[in-house]
């Protein structure tokens, strides 16, 4: 069940997605965390963040919107209070980094780089770029490339750029970060969405719009991963609406080397484990020798291999 993301070896291809598994210690009563391929931490920012005012969460059809505001303990308290526990784990720990300037991304990574126990970095570029009036870094190819370029020299560990789906052409972003030396790309982050309280005539989230996740977005995520897989050679990590082992296999088939389970953790924090064991069983039943053989194994008849057709 091993897979590789750059120099990092995962014992199985199933990670817990950033922001949906805390810092790993919250669920230890419920889950054998070491059964996961790895844990991606909540996004870490340079300073602690209180997060957005309520309401931060709205349920939608087969999905949910969130506007957490990247509430997190900040990198210093993470190092002091969370990392010691994470170091005791035998599974991979991936630190996810968020920031509102390029310098801040670099500062957080440098602080983490001085520590033991982190296997790789995942860079959340779906953050407001304060120098550009709050426009998300991740919707601008040049900015996304620049972040990668600045971070690359700071670490030898795998650098994973986490892409946003809220762009016309995600392949272009994947190509740009590959060009700057990223070891892998993970996608998708949440899809911009909104919910309205008709009676109150107001948005349901305090921030008006938020990020859509869950089964509702799985078809979008599969298409984005497929698109990215046509654009780059570096490993992809597929994310979006994964609830079952079969969902995870679908992401591998369209080109992912590993997957992350997000929203499903809120329903059952052990979802990652059941997905991982389910994939092992699935491979056995279907006669797949190594799970890595599934990556990109989708059979597409050449006649319709174009991404853009008449709908």
């Amino acid at each position: 069940m091993q897979v590789h993301i750059g120099s990092l070896t995962l014992r199985n291809p199933v990670l817990a997605a950033s922001g949906t598994f805390g810092y790993g210690d919250e669920c230890k009563e419920l889950v054998d965390v070491n059964g996961l391929g790895g844990i991606v931490t909540k996004s870490l920012s340079l300073k602690p963040r209180d997060g957005n005012p309520p309401a931060r969460i709205v349920e939608t059809a087969s999905g949910m919107l969130n506007s957490i505001g990247l509430a997190n303990v900040g990198v210093d308290r993470f190092i002091a209070e969370k990392l010691p526990y994470l170091r005791t784990l035998s599974t991979a720990v991936i630190a996810n980094i968020a920031a509102s300037t390029v310098d801040e991304y670099c500062a957080v990574l440098s602080l983490l780089e001085a520590q033991e126990g982190i296997g790789a970095y995942e860079i959340n570029v779906s953050c407001p770029n304060v120098k550009e009036g709050g426009l998300s870094f991740g919707t601008n190819v040049a900015m996304t490339a620049q972040i990668t370029r600045r971070l690359r020299p700071l670490t030898k560990k795998p650098l994973i750029l986490k892409l946003t789906p809220n762009v016309t052409n995600v392949g272009e972003f994947a190509r740009a970060v590959e060009g700057e030396g990223a070891d892998a790309v993970s996608l998708i982050n949440t899809v911009v969405g909104m919910a309205v309280d008709a009676r109150k005539k107001s948005p349901k989230l305090s921030t008006v719009t938020g990020g859509l996740s869950g089964p509702a977005i799985k078809p979008i995520a599969l298409a984005k991963v497929y698109e990215a897989s046509k654009a780059v050679k570096i490993p992809l990590i597929g994310i979006g609406g994964i609830m079952t082992a079969e969902d995870a296999v679908e992401f591998l088939l369209v080109g992912a080397s590993a997957v992350q389970v997000g929203t499903a953790n809120f329903i059952d924090p052990a979802t990652g484990l059941t997905v991982a064991t389910g994939m092992a069983r699935w491979c056995e039943q279907q006669g797949v020798a190594r799970v890595a053989d599934l990556t990109g194994a989708l059979e597409v008849s050449t006649e319709f291999s174009v991404l853009r057709t008449w709908l």
Partner: protein
């Protein structure tokens, strides 16, 4: 804290669109504390997607009970359960009421379905030597649920039973009369009611704990989706699901 599939023991109608669901869950029944809650998955599928939080209403031997009314899709599904059906529950969750602190009379104040945690709290309290006074508010008489409670006073919005007005006004009157010995207030109900209750408690210098609600995605502190604004502390927000649901009323910045 555990996840298990508990068989339905019974579902009984206890008022207009109100039900008590009894589940066989010995591991939870043995441990759950007053004002703790269960996070319940109503379906196997993705609609509704998230669990639904419900206070523990009562324990009865190896069974736990919740009280709910039909609000939307999730509670409608619960209302159609039948004995033997399996229900996926995560719990017990949240911090309980502090029933051990220094007071002589527990003043339980429930608004609407906010009565839910009090039968279990009453049971716990009745094992100590404390007094209990219970104040219930509701729209009108049929929505009042007095079962398994002690010394109940009632307020209704329409005056169809008891005091005609809010339950907080009723409690305030009773507390101001001075007839309640070393009271501590425990409140549960809609936010406007809790805000008024907190105000009254502060005015009268009486300790008060409130159990808060919020939309919740996880119920266990991993989604950061259930903040409440605090006064004073270093952090602006606390999480209702695992730093609460019970808070000292003075520390809450009601919206």
């Amino acid at each position: 804290m555990m996840i298990l599939r508990a068989p339905v023991v019974s579902l009984r109608s206890v008022g207009p669109d109100m039900y008590v669901l009894s589940l066989h869950a010995p591991q939870i029944a043995a441990n759950v504390l007053p004002a703790q809650f269960l996070n319940i998955k109503a379906t196997d599928g993705s609609e509704p997607l998230l669990r639904r939080p419900f206070s523990v209403y009562r324990t009865q031997g190896e069974n736990v009970e919740i009280l709910f009314n039909i609000v939307g899709a999730g509670t409608r599904i619960l209302s159609r359960l039948r004995p033997g059906d399996l229900v996926d529950i995560l719990g017990p969750l949240g911090c309980p009421f502090s029933l051990e602190s220094d007071f002589r009379t527990a003043v339980l104040v429930g608004g609407g379905l906010g009565v839910a945690p009090f039968p279990h709290a009453t049971n716990a309290l009745s094992r100590s030597s404390r007094q209990i006074r219970t104040f219930l508010g509701a729209r009108s008489s049929p929505h009042i649920l007095r079962d398994h409670l002690q010394n109940v006073s009632v307020a209704t919005d329409d005056g169809s039973e008891g005091y005609h007005g809010t339950v907080v006004a009723l409690v305030r009157n009773a507390l101001e009369s001075g007839s309640i010995d070393r009271p501590k207030i425990f409140g549960c109900g809609p936010e406007p009611m809790l805000r008024a209750l907190a105000r009254a408690a502060i005015d009268l210098g009486i300790p008060c704990e409130v159990s808060l609600e919020s939309v919740m995605a996880c119920g266990i502190g991993i989604c950061q989706g259930c903040p409440v604004e605090r006064t004073g502390g270093e952090k602006k927000y606390s999480l209702i699901c695992n730093e609460g649901t019970v808070f000292d009323a003075r520390t809450i910045k009601f919206s």
